[in-house]
Symmetry: C2
Subunit: 275 residues, 2 copies
């Protein structure tokens, strides 16, 4: 455990730079803040670079427990003053613990190719995000995909940055539980997915099939489009089927993360009922 006294320290400057997307992409690193999410990171396979704690942080029981976990795992731990911690924190009342982490962009092929060994769980489920812009929606969808036991999240280039602090907070730790592929070309990804016999259902308000009429008992990918404009024309053409959620009231649409939640739980429901 080393002590850093100055804001001009290189590590402190690095963490500050990671608040911006361009430096996160340059360094292939991001940071998470708070006892709970740091603990989730420590328990996962994420590659943790540094743990930074404030001098008073260990007075809190939850944080003390997380620090002990980090010590046991042999992490590089740095202590800073409350003032220095405040200067790097994203929150107004920082808990006093953060971790810098190596980005883990999963390879699409590796993610989608079903391994023959994995016999009993050979069906695979993915959610594909096409230009999701709201950080809260993005994080909540990752959290729900984790809860529903999905195998991965594929994120289009035009989406909000997955490593944006608001997204990370909304995932409630699920960012460390589920593989995420940052797709540079969604059309290519959709083509690859279809060659693996994974059915692609895209959510569309004018979809001709209600989601509960779609067969999701075998490998399925669900595409969720932009909050205001829905899925792109290109994605619409690539999808096997457009599915919709019936709106019987006077609301024009559903919130994107609620719609995603309803759709992502449908395969689980169908498969449980099949048993």
């Amino acid at each position: 455990m080393r002590f850093i006294s100055s804001e001009n320290n290189d590590l402190i400057k690095k963490v500050k730079s990671l608040k911006l997307k361009k430096y996160r992409e340059l360094r292939k690193e991001f940071f998470v803040e708070g006892a709970r999410i740091v603990k989730e990171a420590l328990m996962s396979s994420a590659e943790i670079k540094e743990i930074i704690i404030s001098e008073k942080a260990s007075e809190n029981e939850d944080i003390a427990e997380t620090i002990c976990m980090a010590i046991k795992l042999g992490c590089d731990i740095y202590t800073v003053s409350e003032t220095v911690f405040k200067s790097i924190s994203e929150t107004t009342n920082p808990q006093g613990i953060l971790a810098t982490i190596k980005m883990a962009d999963y390879d699409l092929e590796e993610m989608i190719i079903a391994k023959s060994i994995d016999v009993c769980k050979c069906d695979k489920y993915f959610v594909i995000l096409d230009e999701i812009k709201d950080p809260g929606n993005m994080g909540t969808i990752i959290r729900t995909a984790d809860a529903a036991g999905f195998n991965g999240v594929i994120v289009s280039k035009g989406c909000v940055d997955v490593y944006n602090p608001k997204v990370l907070r909304s995932t409630m730790g699920s960012i460390f539980h589920i593989p995420i592929n940052l797709s540079q070309d969604l059309s290519y990804a959709l083509k690859e997915i279809k060659t693996q016999n994974i059915r692609v259902y895209a959510a569309h308000t004018k979809g001709n099939l209600y989601y509960y009429e779609a067969d999701m008992t075998q490998s399925t990918a669900i595409v969720i489009g932009n909050e205001a404009f829905g899925i792109s024309d290109k994605t619409m053409e690539s999808a096997d089927e457009l599915i919709s959620i019936p709106i019987t009231g006077r609301a024009e649409s559903l919130n994107a993360s609620v719609a995603a939640g309803i759709l992502m739980y449908e395969p689980l429901r169908q498969k449980k009922l099949c048993k």
Copy 2:
């Protein structure tokens, strides 16, 4: 159309006071801001007190359309300078249109008693919110309840104020589409609901019935609990059945509005499949 030049005008002072819950409750009024939601209010049965627009607002096509609608409906319209509008607005870049509206607290009995005339739609569906604290969740749940064709939302005393500007924004106008009952005593409300043969299902992580195993083909009320602590013990005792959403991944829980969305769409799915 009258012009208000000063921030000391009584109407301007009233609107400013409506930013605080205590004055909203005292005056039984609230306000909504932006062309879209003001339009929704105008098209609904809401009792609009005043419409306030900024001098430049009519330059925008959407706002101009909304102003015309207000004129045709004979609303009291007041024009103010951009500076005065900024002083009453809740947003950093105000669109320049807002409406003050009389609160419409629906009577519980009126809401839940099925009218015999309404034969073909005699099943009634309600969502009951027990200490929902996040404004975004509250608004999104109201929006989803509207979309799923629910008959009303019952809100416990300990919930975030329904007329909080963030809640109103998240409802996307659904606040004007669906009856809302502000319950002073949730135990009493649950008792009343049960006397009407409405089955009460409360969401609980340890619920012994998965939501898709619960019969929701007849009148149903779904209870959603607090984001951190779930439903209260009292509510748990009053419920007919505790239902859960399976978590097969490593997420600890679902976001409250996503969970509510999955549960509120279940009756719709069951009834469509019954046909």
